[in-house]
Symmetry: C2
Subunit: 386 residues, 2 copies
């Protein structure tokens, strides 16, 4: 059976009432699309029997396969398996192996099992149990008139572990295994979405490729889906030329990763900043894994009143020359700041400003952070090498 | 007309294919529930005419009101307004005021308007235009057989601004204005979800309150919805007593906020750490706003090899005594670290460890960060005052 449309049905009042964000739907969709799924829908509902039942009916009408997340816990508001049992007309059957799994897990993580945890060991008759190596509730697969229904626990780390150890492989029989379309992406800065759209449409006129756009300040992303069988290179080159003055990075590339890469050869790196409200940390931390970066990389964020320029230069004078130092300091104005790079005798500095008026605080912040990462990367790759 | 069920229909391939997370649905649901809505559904679909049309039909069948987000942009993949016009059987009409809005915005943000932006000025006949003070695409309200349909742009900052300047007030005619149920929350640590569930159910037996749970390591959250007309105090006190050994914070409280509050009286504060991978920054940054914290608060994260104990104590010796210093250092083991607090002559230190085995890295990290924030707050509020 060939699956094209998938509905991810997320169950949880914490989701439907907005206490938390449905990151599972995004994570699963990305993985499913990469595995060759054509279309993903997300439906999110509260912990409510009637809503879940209605949701199941809608999802099964509009999708070839269902993936349910959440509602498999040990408490009184977890009833995904009950509603499913009613809908499938299959009684819930106790699985002793699942109880053993719970006992092992309780021993490993040093907690006492509670009798109410027994409900996590019941599965609709005929269901295939899928081991959850990262949590108490096993996942399972059941069917309704040939339609596969995967039922997963709610915590993101558990879903990702189950995907890795079982689901990705198991979905092979339903999905072709890799996307039939390849997605190319360009992150551009400095030209409005509408104009980038015009340039893209013109460059790809006649190609019949699907094209998409996403404005996420300060970037506009241009996306092109290319079917596997199509010869794309001449088109992609034409588009690259049309967008080139505004392209910052392509596909999965990220400026943060570029900067961390460029820092690898230095003994010790410090980034001292005020004004980004922790965003430099947020941008760089994913790439500063112990394996990727063995030398110390220190990020210091100063919250409170901005430093004045004298203080900054005093700081520069006393810095050790064997380290690479980045500085970024907020000025009185929210739309500009000073950035510095120091390495031994080399000192680069520049005032960066945002094109937006001062009141556009978060817009200014976003553009200044990206411009700073870009300038530092450029200085590192060009200036220091001379 | 009284609205109870609301469907938030998010449109965007970047959402349905998991490139980004649907934070709008969460934000809007929270605001709607606080305004008295009973039930929120989320439905997320790709930029695809057929999918949007099907989504509109489903949503209008199962909800009293629809809120659409996304697909109002200037590019070729934005056709929310077109599909809506077809479905409502109302032609799109050009609105000259919206074009003036675009011209003003282009002038303010110094960009050139493109002719393709004209599409953002068309609205289904009879729609009420709702000004978007933060972006190019105005929102609008239309109806289908008495069912209100709000159509909002996609960027979160624009939705939030429209809510603030118009929507919250406008929804008054449909929603009672404040929740009829009050939600009480307890964040607990150190007892499994199932046991906290048993204790909660026992304490509230006979109350008929709706109860919910959410495990988000290292916390388990207990939630109780209390109808406005009910006398809840005795029940809540009973529950408080039952949960008290494990309660860390209540309702909207957060440990990060507690710690920042407790630091306000110090001249200068530094937090120097390795091992949290930037998570201390992430936990504290939201509370370190310029207005909330005037004195300098510096967070330094050291990425790379962990410091050894000698280095740590050398560091402590040379530190200035007029500042409050927090230290947190990873040891060789991922399941324990050393935390220190120094203020003048007062020095507190402790090895914290996680109850989980070493391989449970992210679990250990989460529990160590929360335990550290808790101990620092305790030291500040009790020990330093003596």
């Amino acid at each position: 059976m060939r699956i094209e449309k998938i509905c991810i049905l997320a169950i949880g009042t914490e989701l439907s009432e907005g206490q938390i964000i449905n990151s599972n739907a995004a994570w699963l969709s990305k993985a499913l699309i990469e595995s060759g799924a054509k279309e993903c829908w997300h439906l999110t509902l509260a912990d409510d029997r009637e809503q879940i039942l209605t949701g199941l009916k809608i999802a099964s009408q509009h999708a070839d396969m269902l993936i349910l997340t959440g509602g498999l816990g040990p408490t009184s508001d977890d009833f995904t398996r009950e509603v499913l049992s009613t809908w499938l007309d299959k009684p819930l059957i106790f699985d002793p192996d699942s109880w053993t799994h719970l006992e092992n897990r309780a021993q490993l993580l040093k907690f006492q099992l509670s009798p109410s945890q027994k409900q996590q060991c019941y599965f609709p008759e005929g269901a295939t149990i899928i081991v959850n190596p990262a949590g108490t509730a096993h996942a399972f697969l059941c069917h309704r008139q040939n339609q596969p229904i995967f039922v997963l626990p709610g915590p993101p780390s558990e879903i990702q572990k189950i995907w890795e150890t079982d689901l990705a492989q198991r979905l092979h029989q339903y999905l072709p295994g890799k996307a039939e379309q390849k997605l190319y992406r360009w992150q551009c800065m400095g030209l409005p979405e509408a104009d980038l759209g015009d340039k893209t449409e013109e460059a790809l006129k006649g190609s019949l490729f699907r094209i998409g756009y996403r404005a996420h300040s300060p970037y506009v992303e241009v996306k092109v889906w290319v079917p596997a069988e199509k010869e794309a290179q001449p088109w992609l080159e034409k588009l690259e030329t049309a967008l080139s003055p505004w392209v910052i990075v392509r596909n999965e590339e990220d400026l943060g990763s570029h900067l961390v890469q460029a820092c690898q050869k230095f003994k010790r790196v410090r980034l001292l900043e005020s004004g980004s409200q922790g965003r430099f940390q947020q941008r760089l931390a994913p790439y500063l894994t112990p394996s990727a970066f063995q030398t110390p990389f220190q990020i210091e964020t100063l919250y409170g009143a901005p430093l004045d320029q004298n203080e900054i230069f005093k700081l520069l004078e006393k810095e050790r020359s064997d380290e690479l130092l980045f500085l970024s300091f907020c000025q009185a104005s929210a739309s500009s700041w000073l950035i510095v790079l120091q390495q031994g005798q080399v000192l680069q500095q520049e005032f960066l400003s945002s094109p937006y008026p001062e009141e556009q605080v978060s817009r200014n912040l976003a553009v200044l952070i990206e411009k700073t990462l870009l300038r530092w990367s450029e200085w590192l790759s060009h200036k220091l090498e001379k």
